[in-house]
Amino acid sequence: MTNNKLNKNEWPLWEVFIRSKAGLDHKHAGSLHAADAQMAIENARDVYTRRMEGVSIWVVESKQIHASDPGQSESLYEPASDKVYRHPTFYDLPDEVKYM
């Protein structure tokens, strides 16, 4: 995401995603610099799993990430706020009904 004005040869920036244990999603852990993808994974192993934080690593070059525009958040996210019927708590059931 940064444009290095000083040095074109700066190692690119990578975003690191770590699966903390089997069955869970990969979660964004942070970023780091590496010359290539292989090195990015190894650097991530050394930087972000020193305390047994992970069992699997994803890396993606930061410049490859496309993000939504915060300026559009109202139109993107607020329309969901009045759809309360999407949530189970919207529905009243008699207490006798179990396992639903």
Binding site: W11, L32, A35, M39, D46, R50
Partner: protein
């Protein structure tokens, strides 16, 4: 002889870890500073496990045998007090002649290429050798080797990749890498020369002779160097002596630095 043998392995790990740890805070980039420190910690951890085992064996020796094992005054003085020795006594109270690590691991860091070449030669050896050690008839050695093999597998990958990167990188890095590979070559032969401890251990069926892995080692080195567009050195003259305590001059300085606290303030807990 098993004591001497374990000390050989332990000293290799400690001295290698010591050299790598000299990079901490001074690496070429933050990410690699962290990576090399991880490796240093692995070596240090391995050294500790082995020293603890060595101390256990030493402490079980009959009293009259204990003073015959080492030449160093400092450790013998401790032994004479009748106190059991521990990992720190073995690391900090033995002088150069009692250290049994191979010459390769005590060679200075010089630059990143030297450091990588030294690691690469050593990691490739450990990788194949620990493969055998995992099956040792000595359960403690087998257990330590099993843990070490996992670490070493990663170390070898790391150092191999750097050999390739530097060999097949820029003109300057190629030159530096080839130079380091050449300069350290003469220290590689010692890995496969059996010391009397190695021979005794092999005879007892505890571990095979180090020469068992020589061919695999050479193939691996040749493969990686080829990928790195580097030339396999052809020199046949090999230095040796570390395993019998005849070290290079670097060793004295290394120990002077490493042992200074224990020597200046003897017998204290830290």
């Amino acid at each position: 002889m098993i004591l001497e043998y374990i000390l050989q392995l332990a000293d290799d790990a400690l001295i290698m870890g010591h050299r790598l740890s000299e990079w901490t805070g001074h690496g070429p980039i933050l990410e690699q500073d962290i990576a090399i420190t991880n490796t240093a910690l692995d070596h240090l951890g391995r050294a500790r496990s082995l020293y603890q085992y060595a101390a256990e064996i030493f402490n079980a020796l009959p009293a009259d045998k204990k003073t015959e094992v080492f030449n160093s005054v400092a450790i013998n003085t401790t032994v004479q007090t009748g106190k059991a020795i521990d990992e720190d006594d073995l690391a900090f109270l033995r002088d150069v002649r009692d250290y049994r690590n191979m010459l390769l691991v005590e060679q200075p860091n010089n630059d990143w290429a030297y450091t990588i070449a030294r690691s690469f030669y050593f990691d490739a050896f450990c990788y194949y050798y620990f493969g055998f050690l995992c099956q040792s008839s000595d359960a403690t050695i087998a257990a330590i080797a099993t843990k070490s093999l996992k670490e070493t597998t990663y170390h070898l990958r790391w150092s191999s990749e750097w050999v390739i990167r530097l060999g097949d990188g820029t003109e300057e890095s190629h030159k530096r890498m080839q130079h380091a590979i050449n300069e350290l070559w003469m220290y590689t032969g010692e890995m496969f020369v059996a010391s009397s401890a190695d021979s005794a251990i092999a005879q007892a069926g505890i571990c095979p002779l180090p020469e068992t892995v020589a061919a695999q080692w050479k193939n691996k080195v040749a493969d990686i160097l080829q990928e790195a567009t580097l030339t396999l050195p052809t020199g046949t003259w090999m230095q040796q002596g570390g395993k019998t305590g005849v070290h290079s001059e670097h060793m004295g300085y290394l120990l002077a630095e490493m042992q200074f606290m224990q020597r200046t303030y003897p017998g204290m807990e830290w």
